[in-house]
């Protein structure tokens, strides 16, 4: 008899006023009892609508049934059949827009906590089971993967499982892409990311760090000189956009990528134990309303800023960030300045930012994307005291690969053009997926693209 309680088991978490001073994970995860109890809310629907919402088709009702029986390892193995990084997905997927949005229990009451259960299972496995991974037998074919973010890692895992010799080339000194440099420790502990990557290595995936494809090695050389049979490009959307405003080069103005890379990848929050510094003043303005903006604002608060503002040109309803992240930010004391847009930055003689002029906005007619267009209200400018600015208004793909690879078509936004179902590009044997194709999107969509491309590469090479 299923548990017919209408609401989800709440997620245990650190107190807002404690956690906004540390970088430990905010949510602490279900206990075994909570997980079993939550799992019993699943109705095990025959038509499994939740699975249609999952870009990597996790067998959701099946793994949840194992949890309900207390068979946590079996639940883990079930998830692993289709998802290479469950501990990551359980934490950072926007489940409310994916699997959980299709859950039948969500029609009357709250959906089953699928993401929380996936996370529980992955964490339980890491804590209790010694990994014994058997290396698949090589099939004699080689695939190179460019970029070790979520999409590249998924391709690598799926192809290694099928017997391919896979090498992942990563420009940074640590694999993981945005999981390492972008998403902060308090949302996604880096040990967990590295553990998931270590599992891939045990499966035989070779990861070469400090290799910049387009500089150290060219895409064509991967085929001609190095003998790869196919190449997958999952190099992401890492080029930061700036607003082009007066004063944007002042000291104290960062791109979100710089700010977060210093903090997350370089562990700037542990300076001077770690060598990379990160400057945060008393009054911090974060420009933008996505998850990156939330991460930057919450990091700034943790680094000791008194006032941290999210400055966003639309209203609260339009914030692109996950509702849960907005709520966490509010609880931690982040101040939302909505319907406001910066117009210029003001600095002192030494070249440091001291203020930011903002103009109030109102929402006009819907634009081509269907969102109501923000229009400035003339004469409403005001000057805010600001000593740090983080620009988090978006990223586009890095031009390095498209500039150095002949025959690879890209669109006007600089994104590689690839077939939606297969990831096939205009260049023979070259596939692409994730943010380098779609522009900045989500971890799970990047993984879904990787999964589809792995399938297509396997088909092509086995033809």
């Amino acid at each position: 008899m299923p548990n017919m309680r209408l609401d989800k088991n709440p997620m245990p978490e650190q107190c807002p006023n404690v956690r906004n001073k540390n970088f430990l994970e905010v949510t602490t995860g279900y206990t075994e009892e909570m997980a079993i109890d939550e799992a019993q809310r699943c109705l095990n629907c025959k038509h499994k609508p939740c699975m249609q919402g999952c870009p990597v088709s996790v067998k959701i009702p099946e793994f949840i049934a194992f949890i309900a029986e207390g068979e946590f390892e079996k639940a883990y193995q079930k998830i692993k059949e289709t998802n290479a990084l469950p501990a990551v997905c359980g934490r950072v997927c926007p489940q409310e827009k994916q699997c959980e949005s299709k859950c039948v229990r969500g029609i009357k009451g709250e959906s089953v906590g699928i993401g929380r259960l996936e996370r529980f299972v992955a964490d339980w496995h890491m804590k209790n089971v010694e990994e014994k991974i058997e290396k698949p037998v090589h099939n004699g074919k080689k695939v190179a993967v460019v970029g070790s973010g979520p999409s590249g890692l998924t391709v690598a895992g799926d192809l290694a499982k099928r017997g391919y010799e896979v090498t992942v080339y990563e420009a940074f000194h640590t694999a993981g892409g945005v999981l390492m440099y972008g998403i902060p420790e308090f949302r996604l502990p880096k040990d967990i990311v590295q553990k998931e990557i270590a599992n891939l290595k045990d499966m035989g995936v070779d990861i070469q760090t400090n290799v910049i494809i387009g500089k150290t090695i060219m895409v064509d050389e991967l085929f001609d000189e190095m003998g790869y049979d196919a190449v997958y490009i999952g190099s992401g959307a890492g080029l930061p956009s700036f607003m082009g405003l007066e004063g944007e080069s002042l000291n104290g103005v960062y791109s979100a990528n710089e700010f977060l890379t210093r903090i997350n990848l370089m562990k700037g929050y542990k300076f001077p134990e770690y060598d990379t510094p990160v400057y945060v003043g008393k009054n911090v303005a974060v420009l933008g309303g996505g998850n990156v903006a939330m991460d930057a604002a919450r990091s700034a608060k943790r680094l000791g800023a008194d006032n941290v503002y999210i400055v966003y040109r639309r209203g609260k309803e339009e914030l692109p960030a996950r509702a849960e992240e907005v709520m966490h930010a509010e609880e931690e004391g982040i101040i939302f300045k909505l319907l406001q847009n910066p117009t210029k930055f003001v600095g002192n003689e030494d070249g440091w930012v001291t203020g930011m002029e903002v103009i109030k906005m109102e929402l006009g007619e819907p634009d081509a994307s269907g969102r109501r267009r923000p229009v400035p209200i003339e004469g409403s400018e005001e000057l805010l005291d600001i000593d740090t600015v983080v620009v988090a208004i978006g990223q586009t793909p890095n031009p390095l690969i498209r500039k150095t690879t002949k025959g690879l078509d890209t669109n006007q936004r600089g994104c590689i053009i690839a077939n939606e179902e297969t990831g096939k590009t205009s260049k023979d044997h070259v596939y692409a997926g994730g943010d380098v194709v779609t522009g900045a999107a989500t971890v799970i969509l990047a993984m879904g693209a990787g999964k589809a491309a792995a399938e297509a590469i396997d088909k092509e090479l086995n033809r």
Binding site: N210, K215, T216, L239, T261, L400
Partner: protein, 282 residues
């Protein structure tokens, strides 16, 4: 993966040379490009210009001036030991083809960075005048190497202790006024020196390329920490440069941005945060 130091040589009390085993980078390196290194797990990522490379041996040479925490730590790494990360080649190579008569100017450590440019120009058959400047004669580096790759070498010292007193700008001015017709000046060194060289060459309308050296983190264009203003536009020195038209660079803004982390750099250098005793070198 670690990168072995196959040769280490002290050039003067503040400057040392390291030849690093990095075959993939050696294969592609060109004058004007740089690498980013990290000594160990605690380290920061710091850019160094490729001072030389040997494609056959698979090595890349960097020349380091001790100025702060990381360079001090790097000086502690001995020949035969390794560092953890070494990535490149980064940046756009200096365009040197087609130049006929060039003045290559190096200030202090910039001399080491100007060496590969002079060497390549010389091999391309250009007439190369090298002007280098140091505070005193004990700091002079690479004199013999530069002699081999230049038609004329002028080594100046601020205090005249080598018998040739003056700044590199004084020397360049003297050359220009004595009738030397340079079709390009390439200036590499401290920002202030490059700024003054540009002010001078502007008067004579000589195209001038400078090698910018802003703060960098990734070095691949993903953060914009190294952004500078050139001709009114924002450029990322790591991917658009590091070489730029010196007459278009906003020098004052670049000078100010260079000081952004000054307080932190001093704190990082204080006793107690020294790497000695916490080594986990590769």
């Amino acid at each position: 993966m670690a990168y072995k130091i196959v040769k280490k040589e002290v050039l003067n009390p503040q400057i040392f040379l390291m030849e690093v085993e990095a075959p993939l980078i050696a294969k592609k390196a060109e004058p004007g490009q740089f690498i980013i290194l990290r000594i160990d797990e605690y380290g920061e990522r710091v850019p160094f210009t490729i001072a030389d490379f040997d494609r056959k041996k698979g090595t890349v040479t960097i020349i380091v001036q001790i100025v702060g925490k990381t360079t001090k730590d790097l000086a502690q790494v001995s020949e035969g030991e390794s560092i953890l990360d070494f990535a490149g080649p980064l940046g756009v190579p200096t365009p040197l083809e087609g130049l006929k008569k060039v003045a290559v100017i190096g200030g202090g450590l910039g001399t080491a960075i100007a060496y590969p440019q002079a060497k390549k120009l010389h091999s391309l058959g250009a007439d190369v005048t090298v002007i280098t400047g140091f505070r005193n004669k004990d700091l002079v580096i690479l004199e013999d190497e530069l002699k081999k790759v230049s038609n004329k070498l002028i080594v100046a010292t601020d205090d005249g202790s080598n018998g040739n007193q003056g700044f590199v700008t004084d020397m360049l001015k003297k050359e220009i006024e004595s009738g030397e017709k340079f079709d390009e000046v390439i200036a590499i060194g401290p920002l202030v020196m490059m700024k003054f060289v540009c002010q001078l060459t502007k008067q004579y309308d000589i195209p001038t390329t400078v090698s910018m050296n802003p703060v960098m983190i990734d070095g691949t264009g993903m953060c914009g920490g190294c952004r500078i203003t050139v001709g009114g536009e924002t450029k990322f020195a790591c991917v658009d440069g590091p070489d730029f038209d010196g007459h278009k660079v906003d020098w004052d803004s670049a000078l100010k941005r260079g000081k952004m982390f000054k307080d932190y750099e001093e704190k990082s250098c204080e006793d107690g945060h020294c790497r000695i005793g916490r080594t986990n070198r590769a």
